[in-house]
Symmetry: C2
Subunit: 327 residues, 2 copies
């Protein structure tokens, strides 16, 4: 497989470029006219660490790599713009395999209005993808960072958590399927084909969210980042956190299902702080624009520092930076 031939076949499959892209793949660089301000993030995934080729199709691997990158743009309240993809191709991945990976990306790119604007393909010992994504807003104040949450703000969560962790458990041990009943396929999809909450992110930004983060490392892993960057404390009421259907039942097999669901990463939902007065309007707007996506108040922003997570049985958890510090 020649790099040039592969790139030519890739270019044939690209969705139409967005209005900002003036020159796409095939030159020394892509040219864009961004408008006001940009949010840019890079995310890399490596075989055996972020995914396993025996558990996910190449299409799903491509989808998820782009989805996780776009999720960072969602967390800024950005409009998705361009993606630049680096592909490390191991000896056992042929040209058709590369195109299957790309198909997973192009489908999601088309859904989200993202232009695949450039990339690099290289031989490698193992499959890896690194994706740089650029999102847009009219000006830099329109983006929502992790810093900015104010005591008194409500803490809101899009969608449900725990599904991706339960999906992973199902992929690792198919016998758990009987615990999940009808929910197994949806749980596996949460793990393999996450959906970046771009619309909800933009709506929350417009509705006045003061701080926002996407849950890649789970509620217990990511809430402390928001607290630390904002210089505030967070109180989360575990009873209010929506858990994906079937997740607790599946996860009970490996420990305390509720705890594992609250800790579980890769749901790519958004956690945001929002002034109480804007809450009703934001909830309605998210629900309407993002196909019925629930926005749930799960706690509040308080003076101080750190995160307190109260479980339904009254136990109090103090998540640190990651799961391993969950008290």
């Amino acid at each position: 497989m020649g790099e040039f031939e592969l790139l030519a076949r890739v270019r044939e499959r690209l969705p139409p470029a967005g209005p900002r892209l003036r020159l796409g793949s095939g030159d020394d660089a892509a040219i864009a006219v961004p408008g006001g301000a940009t949010a840019t993030s890079v995310d890399a995934v490596v075989d055996g660490i972020h995914f396993r080729r025996e558990r996910a199709s190449l299409r799903q691997i491509g989808h998820k790599a782009l989805a996780t990158a776009l999720s960072d743009l969602a967390a800024m309240g950005a409009e998705a713009g361009e993606a630049y993809v680096t592909l490390g191709v191991p000896p056992d991945l042929d040209e058709d395999g590369c195109l299957e990976l790309l198909d997973g990306m192009t489908a999601l790119a088309a859904q989200t209005g993202t232009a695949l604007a450039g990339g690099d393909v290289t031989r490698a010992g193992e499959l890896f993808l690194s994706i740089a994504v650029v999102g847009h807003a009219d000006d830099d104040d329109a983006f929502v960072a992790r810093a900015g949450a104010q005591p008194g703000d409500a803490l809101v969560l899009t969608g449900e958590v725990g599904g991706a962790r339960a999906g992973l458990a199902l992929l690792e041990d198919p016998r758990l399927e009987e615990q999940a009943a009808d929910a197994a396929a949806a749980l596996r999809a949460r793990q393999l084909e996450p959906h970046p909450q771009l619309r909800a992110g933009r709506i929350l930004a417009r509705a006045g969210a003061t701080a926002m983060i996407d849950l890649s490392d789970g509620l217990a892993g990511d809430a402390p980042h928001l607290a630390e960057r904002s210089g505030v404390g967070l109180r989360i009421d575990g009873e209010c956190v929506p858990i994906a259907a079937g997740a607790i039942e599946v996860l009970n097999a490996s420990g305390e299902g509720l705890l594992l669901a609250l800790e579980g990463g890769e749901d790519y939902e958004l956690l945001a702080a929002i002034p109480a007065g804007q809450l009703a309007q934001a909830t309605r707007a998210v629900h309407e624009a993002a196909e019925g996506l629930p926005l749930t108040v799960i706690g509040e922003v308080v003076e101080g520092e750190g995160v307190e997570l109260r479980l339904p049985d009254g136990r109090l958890l103090r998540p640190g930076r990651g799961f391993d510090q969950l008290a």
Copy 2:
């Protein structure tokens, strides 16, 4: 080594961010206010394919990874802006090794006015780096693509070629050092620490260059890209092409030194088409602004297609897309 701890140490070492960067590393995405138009490119390097850790220091590997990415911006005539770095860290690379890689990048970033604005660090089976770079101009017309060369334009080259290929030969076989005499260190530096011609690129763009490309795959490999994208032919006079001192002598050991120097990649010089009337002014401006860098007319743009390279002895070469098609 924790990812968070490494990233914190990385952030301490970053050069000051440029005027466009409003929020750097440490959030979901970096925020920038680009101004007019952007040129964006990604470049990946993998251990054992693009470099060998036994032949280059980690600092040099970091330098070269960023340099080759920035060279694509030079070829657009862009001003360097931001870089986003993905680092795949194998088990045998410790935190100090990662910081050494980064030191090579930060030194070049400071030299070129590039802000290291974000990144991702992941475990990996082998060392790889993927770097996305964003360059700027007042508007998209200010960039120079590969397309646009017109019959009658002069074909110009910055600096000299063949040095990086000779440097590689010296690294592979130190006994060749006696062929290179005093030039050996400079030739190795051409291979290990290439310099992106950002200033020359901007000057050529302002001077009216109609098409431009950087020589990563060598004159024989890259000139055909410019010809093809512009829909023109190129005639190159091999006698006019400046060859790095000592390169031919070193390369004579593995074949016809002059041919290998003309084919040799990784010099990262710029090849541009420029209207004849603007030539004198462009040459002066490049020489003045880029510390004595020569700009040499090596041929002309003609009607037709393909590249003809006439050697000093009268033989005519017709480079195709890469070395292997060199007739």
